[in-house]
Amino acid sequence: MISLLIRDLRLAMRAGGGFGLGLSFFLIVTVLVPFGVGPESALLAKIAPGILWLGALLACLLSLDRIFALDWEDGSLDLLATSPLPMEGVVTVKALAHWLTTGLPLCLASPVFGLLLSLPEQGYKWLIVSLVLGTPALSVIGTFGAALTVGLKRGGLLLSLLVLPLYVPTLIFGAEVARRGAEGLTTTTPVLMLAGISAGTIALLPFASALVLRVNLR
């Protein structure tokens, strides 16, 4: 399993691996929003938590179809399915690799992007907390969607349609944590809800992903 994680991270880092794709997309969104809504910093500060969360979510979505599609095309998914690794382990490692290459860089870079959108000072801590708690759910749900659409040519559109509704609760509570944090309100309830969503999806969805992957390999 460790070797699969190392291989996936190594592939992501090499040429054409797509590492940084999500990050640069996130950067483009946050740089362009002030041009779109105007340079008024009070307005920007108000919408910053929502924009940052939306940007993070779309950046995650961008790289989802690569999770299984490349392994499917070159046949290594079949070989992994006949290897000693349990399928549940394979999908968990895939989700973890996706989070490490997409979610984690977004979490680390978010304060810089918050600055671009003049996020109030007290909001930074909660922005990072919300992203750290929420992006694992985005990766795990996305892995489930990628498992459902593996083997479809140009499955990216279908994947987005399948995954976006499942992303809505994470987006609502994640953006709510960041908004309440920025406005200096208490954040306990949305933080607990967000953590609950992440814990629930991480506990349950790998089994569903492994099942649909086995069906899709037939």
Binding site: R10, D74, D78
Partner: protein, 208 residues
Amino acid sequence: MTLTVKDLTISRGGIPVLEGLNFSLEPGHALILRGPNGVGKTTLLRTVAGLQPPVEGEVQAAPESFAYAAHSDGLKATLSVSENLHFWADVFGTKGIQQALDGFDLNGLVDRPAGALSAGQKRRLGLARLLVTGRPVWILDEPTVSLDVASVELFANAVRAHLAEGGSALIATHIDLGLDAEVLDVGPFRAKPKSGTGGFDGLDESFL
């Protein structure tokens, strides 16, 4: 480690392609599958490897005894030859890739990215993976595609060595590997159309 297939019926895309298959494969033996294109050799191999469930019948073998090699080699273009082999050795929990490199004459290519290999070299690397799996039953789908004569001989030697160590191999191929192996022609096991379906006589390649 005997592989036994009993009354197996397999389907592709919901349509039965082969039925009533019975064979067994003892340690140290190889079985060559033959049959026209589209008859269901790949489907049979995938079913035996456990990638898809049989419609009827059963495949009896110890779990985790198969090493499957498909049409595609499962190589990562940006990883080098040794990185590709080391990855599969780690996954299967075996140590050392030197034997595999020697067996398929890959020593001169260890640091080359797999994407820069020729088709025949890629195939050799794909087959070298079998040696690092340490699994007793090899299931091979057209293993000699794009191999030259010398490489086919390397492959045949690898299979002979594997059989001599008590392994076994189930191979779908159209060329003569010079192995001392039984041959099973799967053509006669084509699934008969169910009565009443009408108009579907025998195998229609384009329909599958």
